[in-house]
Symmetry: none
Subunit: 376 residues, 2 copies
DNA sequence: CCAGTTTATGAATCTTCCA
DNA sequence: CTGGAAGATTCATAAACTG
């Protein structure tokens, strides 16, 4: 068979739409016709490489991601894997297609660099800020409260799909930013196996895929997910009237995903309504007043009538009369009260006047106007 | 000169503290003694196309970036530059030192991958979420509303500095997360040149450095910034009682930075002090509680809710339910837990009330005031 | 049935000292 | 260097449970 005949044959072969394909994603992508897919959403293994067990302070054990599919011998092996699946993905993307990849600091730098090396063109990196992340139990690092997504077109010349107005509308009329605050997937949305355990260790929330697909695909587009898992990409694609192709190696995941997809119904064309975000007053920690230079470490604060004094420290705590702690704790201690609202209790002096520190909080909140607050 | 002599010479040479060094950061870092710096904060050039002054092997200018070969050459040059300055930075870091690098999607993936390649160990990637970013005027992408910082220690084995309690305090008692909401630098903080234009295109806010330095250095530490610009790192370091070394090639930036630094005053010592971690308190063996007569041999201890009991022995061990050992060992055994903090687990009875034995440790520590405790 | 309390759990590169 | 012991450490949410 000549090369041309082969290409015609694969081009003529219809795409296996709205199905879950079983097997290795690189092989399967290589078997699909080139330039046939509008968007790829990929959630590849993160290469976490966890060592021992981790326990919460209450001694319960954290159920870690220790699955075989996340084991690599090192960066070289992970890079080689990344190179291969990205190349396969690029081949099947239409010239004006785009890709999303999600990851954490363990793998995202390697993925991002390889995307650039292969000629993909990054439009944005998008931060999924988790409203309810797992804390850092040992207090040895910052709470790992986000994951990173890279949105890139096939090449710099691609005229990629971007539904600016739809995203703006999703965001109450304000231009959508590169940081998205969404809760992690749990509760009723989280799929369980027969034992009641989570069916997949890293199921993504549908809200994330909703925003990706509304923003960067059109109805009727073909969306491929090479690491389909329990099928969040397929579920949201089906709801939104996009066609999907899922690829998944593990039979257990495919089974859960298929059941899930069978239950999904496509939204009515005009019923793609989204749950509206409620505006809550954002919480402002007192430390931000210090960091922003509105008060300086060492500055004195006074209670009403100057009966009590305290000094501001660089970490946003106060020290007054040998008592250290938050603005609320120190106020309560000095008053002998069970509690105290430090924001209204403490004042600073400016040009001979006593000004409540709550003024500073209001200034910070005013600066935050126009921000996107968390949905729900 | 032999190698040993050379090493002695550089080791003996005093560090040029609290000065701005003029020149190429790679050359200057290579002239500093090895393992001499506690923290590096780096804000390297971001843009791959507009900067012709990077370390480019061919010294040619990239005209069009739509050419695949040209694009790779651009990345290769940037990677080479990144490799060189990171290696120079790593050499001068103390074994337990750490580095922060800030960047955007244009360069951060390449920097992150190279950090990992050189053996740096990433603790967190941190998102600076801008509360007032510039909107995307053409509506072709999402508002680029954040930058990414990588925090990494020199190696996996490094016992890096992390002031957990101070950062928690800055956040009003809640563990600090990996996403930091801070405004961009403008208003009075933004430095202007003689024409009233901004003195530096990417001046970072002092609030950002405040959080970095409070969280990951101690007073007296040496902080080096190889891309000093207008000196935000030095300014905040000086305020917080840290020593700095700035490196900057452009005379105009050095001049603005030096004027800025001359105006800065250091905060009071007790304002710079931050909330200490418990681990830094002097260790008190439980036996001292017995020796000092605060508990008597034979006295009963109880877990919360009195589910478990144990009896104190004269040597400071416990015996409960046939288990003998330390307060920690017996607590862990009775709970079937891998470990247990006996200080907070066990309680004694006084006048009908249950009191945690940690109260007794605090009393002993208070009595030890004035004694010499370990530094920091 | 409602309100308040307790329990379970989530992509995690999660200790430090001393013998 | 390794091994053993001390001992420090959690936030948001939902479901289950109690009164």
């Amino acid at each position: 068979m000549t090369k041309i005949e082969d290409q015609r044959a694969t081009a003529a072969r219809p795409l296996p739409l709205n199905r879950i394909l079983a097997g290795d994603c690189i092989q399967i992508m290589n078997s699909l016709p080139p330039e046939s897919v509008d968007l790829i959403f990929a959630d590849p293994p993160y290469n976490l490489q966890l060592r021992g067990d981790l326990h919460r302070p209450d001694n319960s054990r954290v159920d870690a991601v220790d699955d075989d599919w996340d084991q690599f011998s090192g960066f070289a092996a992970y890079d080689s894997f990344t190179r291969d699946w990205l190349a396969a993905a690029r081949r099947i993307l239409k010239p004006h297609g785009a890709i999303w990849v999600i990851g954490s600091y363990h793998n995202i730098f390697r993925v991002g660099a390889e995307l650039q090396n292969q000629g993909f063109w990054i439009m944005n990196d998008v931060i999924w800020r988790k409203s309810n992340p797992m804390p850092n139990f040992r207090g040895k690092r910052l709470t790992n409260a986000h994951e990173t997504m890279i949105w890139a077109s096939r090449s710099e010349a691609s005229r990629y799909t971007f539904n600016y107005e739809a995203l703006k509308s999703l965001n109450e009329g304000i231009q959508m930013r590169s940081d998205w605050v969404l809760p992690i997937c749990n509760g009723g949305e989280r799929l369980k196996d027969a034992n009641g355990d989570k069916a997949h260790p890293t199921q993504k929330p549908e809200a994330l895929l909703h925003r990706v697909l509304v923003g960067t695909t059109n109805p009727g587009d073909v969306v491929l997910d090479p690491f389909f898992g329990t099928g969040t990409t397929g579920a949201v694609a089906k709801m939104l009237g996009r066609d999907f192709i899922g690829i998944e190696r593990e039979a257990a995941y495919r089974e859960v995903a298929q059941k899930r997809l069978d239950r999904i119904r496509r939204f009515d064309a005009d019923a793609i309504a989204t749950t509206r975000a409620k505006r809550a007053e954002p919480r402002v920690p007192f430390g931000q007043v210090i960091e922003r230079g509105m008060l300086r470490p060492g500055e004195q604060l006074y209670s009403i009538g100057s009966r009590h004094k305290a000094k501001v420290r660089a970490d946003g705590s106060l020290i007054g009369n040998d008592v250290k702690g938050s603005i609320h704790q120190v106020g309560a201690a000095l008053e002998g009260a069970p509690s105290c609202n430090g924001w209204t209790y403490w004042h600073f002096r400016r040009e001979g006047k006593m000004i409540p520190i709550d003024i500073l909080r209001q200034q910070i909140r005013a600066e935050m106007q126009g921000e996107v607050t968390r949905p729900n």
